[in-house]
């Protein structure tokens, strides 16, 4: 055993002991009594799992697993190579076909999860414009989701405006809200901006919560209409349109699928436009961007408003699908979740954000039995991610390497 490996085992042991100390007050203090058995049982499982992972890691590092890892790495490289050489439509077609056929293959529950994933994809991609492209840390993003949801809810309940008419209105309202919030806050940079956006996000929620006359306060708004479409109807040679409310889950799935597809295409277009380049320049070095003639304030406001648009669209859909909105859906934890998706998936990367949304919405559903430990697993996963893949699951091409990591 080399000195290095002995040291890393020492740290590992220390880490486990420390984890036990953290875990015990969580599980061991109950009803004023102290328990040890339950904590120990949980800890033992975690410790065994962690030890196995650690042994594998050490063995891999020492080169003992080369016999297994080399073929695996070769296979991965071969697949990656084939993927990069295949034309894009060949990769996209199966994904699109699967997405379209999904409701026919699955049950209600799976469709419900998929709708959630798609909503979060819209939100994640919207936030990605602000955080990933423009580098503005926004902790109050969910406010725009709320603005979109309440805009549709109010228009639908009071004026019975149809969903499709409301969609652009919600987008405009969210963008206006983005400008209102952005105008005073975007003069700040970095950490200060994060704190102020956090504050504004809370302000929006609290206003919704307390403006009883308009929003119904904590009771929320009931009776929001589902999206409807006109379908052509032929009866005995006469032709008419029939209005159909899309109540069924699979119809709603297609609505949000269309919205998500729109978001992906739009964000992709922004990404590779002159505006996107300006956003990236601002992220890289705001002062230098300014010296190149980029009106940084206007572009930051634009990034904020564009991000808000996608949040607003997702919000409108959310209201239409739930047919009920209340302030509880727009708490800070939601903002944090969306931000986590962007960071976990890879900032600035569209497939990364999609993966991030999939991971953070679908995985907790798959592991429902362990719901109690969700936040624990979440924190652990984040820590491991930052160590193993600091640029995210699927990093944007340009985000992967910096001069300081090449050494």
């Amino acid at each position: 055993m080399t000195r290095g490996s002995r040291k890393s085992w020492q740290y590992f042991g220390l880490g486990l002991a420390w984890f036990y100390l953290l875990l015990w007050p969580l599980l061991g203090i109950r009803d004023g009594e102290l328990h040890f058995a339950a904590t120990f049982a949980v800890w033992l499982r975690v410790a065994v799992g962690a030890t196995i992972c650690f042994v594998l890691y050490r063995l891999g590092k020492a080169g003992r697993l080369d016999g297994v890892l080399h073929p695996l790495a070769a296979a991965r490289d071969a697949v990656g190579d084939a993927m990069s050489r295949a034309p894009r439509w060949m990769l996209l077609t199966p994904v699109i076909v699967f997405a379209l056929a999904y409701p026919m293959l699955t049950n209600r529950y799976a469709q419900d999860v998929a709708i959630n994933v798609l909503v979060y994809i819209c939100l994640g991609l919207g936030l990605n414009v602000v955080v990933g492209l423009c580098g503005l840390l926004d902790l109050g993003y969910i406010a725009f989701y709320g603005v979109g949801a309440y805009t549709y809810a109010l228009l639908s309940v009071h004026y019975s405006v149809p969903f499709w008419v409301c969609l652009p209105i919600c987008a405009v309202f969210a963008a206006v809200a983005g400008c209102f919030i952005g105008y005073p806050t975007l003069r700040m940079r970095g950490d200060y901006l994060a704190i102020v956006t956090l504050g504004f996000g809370e302000i929006v929620r609290i206003v919704i919560n307390n403006w009883m006359a308009l929003t119904g306060g904590p009771n929320g708004i009931l009776g929001i209409k589902s999206p409807g479409i006109y379908i052509p109807h032929f009866v005995d040679g006469s032709f008419s349109f029939e209005y159909l409310l899309l109540r069924k889950l699979e119809y709603l799935y297609y609505v949000i699928l269309a919205l998500a597809a729109f978001t992906i295409v739009a964000v992709h277009r922004i990404n590779f436009s002159r505006i996107g380049r300006a956003f990236e320049a601002i992220r890289e070095d705001e002062t230098a961007a300014e010296l190149m003639g980029v009106d940084t304030f206007r572009f930051k406001l634009l990034a904020y408003a564009l991000g808000a648009v996608f949040g607003g669209l997702a919000g409108a859909f959310f209201a239409a699908r739930m047919r009920f909105v209340s302030p509880e859906s727009f708490t800070f934890i939601e903002s944090a979740m969306v931000l986590a998706m962007v960071v976990l998936g890879g900032m600035g990367s569209i497939p990364g954000v999609i993966l991030g949304a999939l991971a953070l919405v679908a995985l907790p559903e798959a592991f429902r039995e362990f719901e109690l430990y969700r936040m624990l697993a979440f924190g652990g996963a984040m820590a491991v991610m930052m160590l193993v893949r600091p640029a995210g699951l699927w990093p944007a091409a340009r985000m992967g390497k910096r001069s300081d990591d090449t050494e």
Binding site: R274, R277, A278, E280, A281, E284, D285, T287, A288, A289, E290, L291, M292, G293, V294, D295, T296, R398, M399, K401, R402, S403, D404, T406
Partner: protein, 238 residues
């Protein structure tokens, strides 16, 4: 000859500390002018006041006969005034090519941009080799070249350079200084250069200003200053 840039009694403050005291200087069209001085003499602050990053608290800044004192930094490239900022400030995670594209951000003349791209690649062949690499992966000298090339992509009438030799080996600094001279002679571009390396700056420039504690203390032809006994002692180490 008409002055392209003129500072008249400019003062600037960082909070309550006065950084510039009554600075006046003029740069004629087509000239290379340098500002030399020790650390903290106010050289960089002078440049930053010209581009509006630091606001002048008194005095007047005129560019091509027009006051630019109240202009924001992003409004100046459109007037033909481009800056190579101190510490290079290239965009580390954009490729060299994209960095250069950003330099031409305000321009819409695609053919001319293409031509200028060829021009800067001829000036700095190493950038052509590395055009697909991220800016952050370049060496210090290459980054400085990229910063200058990026500013040239804006087709400036006047170029402001802040310490281009900072942290570079003498050989690379000399190479960069030669290119600055070239650009000045071939394209008639006016250059205002702030530099700590007084020796090299005075060899390059036509005229020079010497700054100390936020004020201009001397102004002369560069050749004359190189022979000046005080300058020799204080800045040239002779």
């Amino acid at each position: 000859m008409a002055a392209i840039l003129e500072l008249e009694g400019v003062c600037a403050h960082y909070g309550r500390i006065q950084a510039l005291r009554d600075v006046s200087l003029r740069v004629e069209e087509g000239e290379v002018v340098t500002i030399i001085g020790a650390n903290g003499a106010g050289k960089s602050t002078t440049l930053m006041t010209i581009c509006g990053i630091v606001r002048a608290t008194a005095g007047e800044v005129r560019y091509a006969g027009e006051s630019i004192r109240d202009k924001r930094p992003d409004q100046l490239p459109a007037l033909g005034l481009c800056q190579v900022p101190e510490g290079r400030r290239i965009f580390p995670r954009l490729t060299v090519q994209e960095n250069l594209d950003m330099g031409a951000f305000l321009r819409r003349d695609a053919d001319e941009i293409e031509a200028d791209l060829g021009m800067v690649f001829r000036l700095f062949p190493v950038l052509h080799e590395r055009r697909k690499q991220h800016g952050g992966t370049l060496s210090g000298g290459e980054q400085q070249m990229l910063a200058i090339a990026r500013a040239l992509m804006g087709r400036p009438r006047m170029l402001l350079l802040d310490e281009p030799s900072l942290g570079l080996s003498p050989m690379i600094s000399q190479h960069i200084f030669r290119i600055i001279r070239n650009v000045n002679e071939e394209r008639g571009m006016t250059v205002l250069l702030v530099e700590q390396n007084a020796n090299m700056a005075l060899k390059l420039a036509d005229r020079a200003y010497v700054m100390e504690t936020g004020a201009v203390v001397m102004e002369d032809d560069a050749a004359a200053l190189r022979e000046n006994a005080d300058i020799k002692k204080a800045y040239l180490g002779q």
